[in-house]
Symmetry: C2
Subunit: 453 residues, 2 copies
Amino acid sequence: MGSRLVVIGGGAAGMSAASAARRDDPHLEIVVLETGPDVAYGLCGIPYYLSGEVARADQLLAYPPEVFRDRRRIDVQTGATALSLDPERHSLRVTQHGEERTVNYHRLIVAAGGAPVLPPLPGLDDDLVFTVRSLEDAVALRSLLDAGRIGRALVVGGGYVGLEMAEALRTRGVSVTVVEMLDQVMPNLDGPLAALVEKELLRHDVDLRLATGLERVVRDVDGLHAVVGGEVIDVDAVVVAVGVRAAGGLAAQAGAATGPGGALTVDDRMRTSLPDVYACGDCIAPYHRVLGRPAFVPLGPAANKTGRVAGTVAAGGDAQFNGIVGTAVVKVFDLAVARTGLTMAEAEAEGLSPVATDVEGRSRAKYYPGAQPVTVRLVHGVAGRLLGAQMVGNDGVAKRIDVVAAALQAGFDVDDLADLDLSYAPPYAPVYEPILLAAQRASSTLHQQPVPA
Amino acid sequence: MGSRLVVIGGGAAGMSAASAARRDDPHLEIVVLETGPDVAYGLCGIPYYLSGEVARADQLLAYPPEVFRDRRRIDVQTGATALSLDPERHSLRVTQHGEERTVNYHRLIVAAGGAPVLPPLPGLDDDLVFTVRSLEDAVALRSLLDAGRIGRALVVGGGYVGLEMAEALRTRGVSVTVVEMLDQVMPNLDGPLAALVEKELLRHDVDLRLATGLERVVRDVDGLHAVVGGEVIDVDAVVVAVGVRAAGGLAAQAGAATGPGGALTVDDRMRTSLPDVYACGDCIAPYHRVLGRPAFVPLGPAANKTGRVAGTVAAGGDAQFNGIVGTAVVKVFDLAVARTGLTMAEAEAEGLSPVATDVEGRSRAKYYPGAQPVTVRLVHGVAGRLLGAQMVGNDGVAKRIDVVAAALQAGFDVDDLADLDLSYAPPYAPVYEPILLAAQRASSTLHQQPVPA
């Protein structure tokens, strides 16, 4: 008998791992254990399925199941949950369709993903409370929307997922209240940029409640009610989006080392501290190149990349993952909101004495139709080392942040950034690209030169 | 009396230089000599003024003349042409409004720009032959368009300016023939990518004539005719866009060192080889960081940046320009066409044994509305050193090329590029961003690993 690779989790990371392992070794037996009914679906597409912009749930599948089963010869087992891990015996206890059994492995990849955090509040077990982190949950909510049964909804959490949900629901004509414990939305943005996002929410008639919290959800003869900061709000549904926790507890319980957020820590080949056990995706804390240590930032690109590395290495090949720099973008109605590296708050928390340089540039030549403001914050050290950037705008923001992500990976300072030879044509950028404007402003301030008008 | 700085040329580079000098030294006397009637206009906006997307010519002015004259106290002299330069005496002979005089300087900045190349063919002195590199020329052509007097036009040259002109004219309903001597459009792109641009031109009913040339323009009683490859074409106007030559001949004649294209060579402070003479903008050959030597690439961003450095240094301050990497983007109808670094042809001409890796990615998640193909070519060395990239697509291409521009400046290889932590959200990018896809493909090929599906 040949070698057996078992992958726990059929999400983006797990299926990337299984596929990479197959590419590396055509003879390996590859088993994927997935608790839910679907594999390889794009979680990030759920808001657009709810809004109707994506017509059918199956469009969110990266590939149909047959591609994995037939073409890649991956034994995908749905409804199968790993209960415990015995690293010495190289075995798992697995429950599937009400039966429990032992599954042995030569190599194991833990790609258990992230689980939605559900605060310990009364009433969150109601059928009309959704976390929308599975296709099933999304299908249930969408059918209620399609049936016109949701007139008003409460979104708990003002982070990026909460705001995507708020937009999706508003797009369907639902009255939306967003409640956020902090005094700003998007905790991973600095206040002045978050304020632009708040304006955009208000402009789209989102009822925004900051610095307050959901207390409980109550159902009575009149229907569902949410108590928010002492006030009772009648709602037809509640969406809870207060964050995600790493779901690799099975490996942690078996002794695997963990780091920030209780996520599994791995080396650059995705090896955990347990022999023959690899981990990838939202259950790990990958290395953060700007922080210089692991960080828990569960996002799609790293899930795919770490999955691919874990699968390649577990199959006997070589690959490595050199970390993240904290890049993220989200669409909030007409705004793109992007960040990379560290915010001021994050850099201050590291004791870095950061400096913020803020500019408002334009997305296109000022005379070209459709030119829009692009607000840029650069975060850098007092000697000019680039630490991060944030951008908000409604034209060409997402790929602009990537320029700074590349600069962070290169270890640039603000002068290097100002030196960049960036593309220019009136329909796409002003001759002084906003990134360059910000870098020049930062450089002028540091060198105490006069600041250009 | 204080010090006098004279700037030859009131375009983007000259006015950037004059403004930077004023920021650095509030007391300097600053004189700008400009041959034409306008200063600080955006040449790159002319196609959009012709198409009508920009309503008025004055919208192309970066600032109204009063800003320079009153607020920045710059003595802007229009209709003034420098005829000769005596570097030992620090003086210029200048003609203005029919009178000739001597102008002395302490420091001189040559920002004479680029002059359109006019091939030595019969008939190009006709009033209906335009080069469209001045606002006056553009205003004349636009008024003919507005009067409905141009039904058919010939554009000579299939480079980026020619194609922008073709688009502008088609937008006005004009029948357009483009004639290009080479066997492809966009000589600064490799053939396979240029072919996508050619398709786009045909899709918009541009009559494209490759590998042939204009022979002469003839006017007779029936009107204007162009002879192209022996065929006579009736036209109402001819636009010549076959390139630009550096217009710093005055300094070259006075002994300043020149490089590629006869352009002035400068150091990183924009000093020419003549004492107290600086140069900037389209009349210089700036340092090309990938080639490792000066190159003549007359484009707007470097004009502005080198202008700023020349002005700062000439006024006694310190600044430096560290070069270009050859980044450019152009809109051709619905396509954005972008490049940075070296093409295969350019890298081969350097003797670099380059390798091309081509991929077709998507601009957004495949399920998200509006996702479009993005064709990427990476050019790299056999050991993986990144040399350049080209991209063609109609969604989100311009800022994607900038990521590679940053990577080139950083000296990345294809593995570094594949490591980039780029932004992802379904409306803005697929989880495997096209740049990363190309970098991974290149890396897999180099390491002879299996190529991902």
